[in-house]
Symmetry: C2
Subunit: 340 residues, 2 copies
């Protein structure tokens, strides 16, 4: 029992070898299934290893071999956002197939922190990085700064560097959602989105703008709010738009936090207020159980994570400098009717 008393010197390969009267090299070869060792000896070694419960020191192995450490760094802004946690799930799913693990780094949307986190992960010897970037300048992820490690950007295409990326069809999804609102007869459609400095911010806005243009509806700046922040801020923004003398009859929200904010804003309205339709990017759990109907642009963040991991491992496998690839995940428009 006594878990704390004896801190054993942590069995080494030499110990195993000494016990068998062979050289450490023989043990090494046996463990890695290399050729150049007799079957009888291999069995003897493996038996001893099993009996002693010896486990090789992975860091020492990586130090010498310089080879893959089977370690992937994941850099996100906030893991509490289901988008990122699902991205992590997908990434890990693929990683286990390669015997790799995921090391986590949160940036809190601060580019300076992002730089530090990335540097730290590189120092710790990750084989590659999946980054959901906080800012729109990605030069700190380029080339030599990272010892030429493969990088995959998630949810944002590379700016100023040439790396692979996985994207959601931000433009197409938003345009489709906006078209549906138009098809239902809405002409005054408000937009709650992210700042144009973010890729998703500009692409989703573009989807909205193009859909309106296609329908021959002019953009009305009063109906548009593009801010960065949490759902509280989004709620305020939604309130402001709805308080206009000539308020929109529908709202289009560009991500889950804006959708939540809009839902709260719509909840607080007077009983006799005109109903306002709502459509938003990102699916929301229990969207089908809300007090009002909601149309969402749905996609699978887990799949996004899997795609990112796949790109990463493929890049790692090939040494020749292929051109950067870009994978885009399709979106589906889903109508969630209100219960009852």
């Amino acid at each position: 029992m006594s878990a704390h008393s004896e801190s054993e010197p942590a069995l080494t390969m030499r110990d195993v070898a000494a016990r068998l009267g062979v050289s450490p090299m023989t043990v090494s070869r046996a463990l890695r299934g290399q050729r150049g060792i007799g079957e009888a000896t291999r069995q003897r070694v493996l038996a001893e290893v099993a009996a002693l419960g010896y486990r090789p020191n992975k860091r020492a192995r990586e130090l010498r071999s310089g080879g893959p450490n089977e370690l992937i760094g994941l850099v996100v802004t906030n893991l509490a956002n289901p988008f990122y946690s699902q991205l992590a799930v997908g990434l890990e799913q693929i990683c286990v197939g390669y015997g790799a693990r995921v090391m986590l780094g949160s940036t809190g949307e601060d580019p300076a922190t992002e730089r530090e986190v990335v540097a730290d992960l590189v120092d710790r010897g990750v084989d590659g990085l999946v980054v959901a970037p906080a800012g729109h300048d990605h030069s700190h992820l380029g080339g030599t700064r990272l010892r030429d490690l493969p990088v995959v950007l998630a949810a944002s295409p590379p700016m100023g560097i040439d790396v692979d990326c996985v994207l959601v069809d931000d433009f197409g999804g938003t345009r489709e959602a906006c078209r549906r609102l138009v098809a239902r007869g809405h002409r005054r459609i408000g937009f709650l989105g992210l700042p144009p400095s973010l890729w998703t911010g500009s692409e989703r806005f573009r989807g909205y703008a193009v859909a309106l243009e296609e329908a021959g509806i002019a953009l009305d700046e009063r109906y548009i709010s593009r801010h960065r922040g949490d759902s509280t801020l989004a709620e305020e923004a939604a309130r402001a738009v709805l308080a206009l003398p000539d308020p929109p009859t529908a709202l289009l929200t560009a991500n889950n936090r804006n959708t939540v904010g809009a839902l709260r804003a719509l909840r607080g309205r007077a009983q006799d207020a005109e109903p306002v339709a709502l459509a938003g990017f990102d699916d929301i759990e229990l969207a089908d159980m809300l007090h009002l109907p909601l149309t969402v642009v749905s996609y699978d963040p887990v799949e996004l994570g899997r795609a990112a991991a796949t790109l990463l491992f493929e890049r790692q496998a090939s040494t020749d400098p292929k051109p950067p690839r870009r994978v885009t995940i399709a979106t589906t428009l889903v109508d969630h009717p209100a219960p009852r």
Copy 2:
């Protein structure tokens, strides 16, 4: 630019030392702020390091020093569950303060996988582990198997080993929720929970059972479903209970997935069906925006993660074998009225 072409031999400490005409030891001391080096020399070294952009190899450092690697392993069943992702967020918040990072391991609720994941994380040199265990046997987390690393269990107390743990007030929270249902006049209260083999399964059931006993209500096995599974299974279980000839007038769900299942089951009922009250453990985002009122046992999983990390680092700091500690997070009962 050319990110792929030249893979530099990755600057070493010796290189820096050679360039300055000093010994590697001097560089090492300068970098770690050790004494035993003149101020002038230190400045010269630091300047050269900065100029060359040299970064020390952390793995080599850890190999030699055997000391803290500033790496914590987090083992959870499924990061997509907001409970676990928020736990991870809290853990990482504290870790950054210690310069530590988090390495992730998902088990998919399979104890065998959990054992493998834990072993792998230990091999990779974590300084400690935070584990949200899949099963109720924790002996694989004990003593020598882990090279005496500190372990903190999350959401489950240790069984068969002596380690620290952080818990939610499962019993108290559930009892309070059940009491509230009773106070509202319900006498036939259904329970959708987890199997008794899980700590949360038995504790939350105990809260339900004790609250009923206190109210002088006999347990009715027909109203009780204790299964392991996702919200789809929970929905079926809820349907079955509600289809009884003498159905419950209220449901108590023991975790977020059961609550979601129950919500879906309640949604599908006929218009003229008797209303059924719902109370559940775990808060749910947008609980205030659902089509029916919901009472939840709320707590902060982020705080749980912070508590786990704090216990871990305190345990790491002190060498003497203090007795294991147990931190319990309080819960709050929150009523979410339905909108309108």
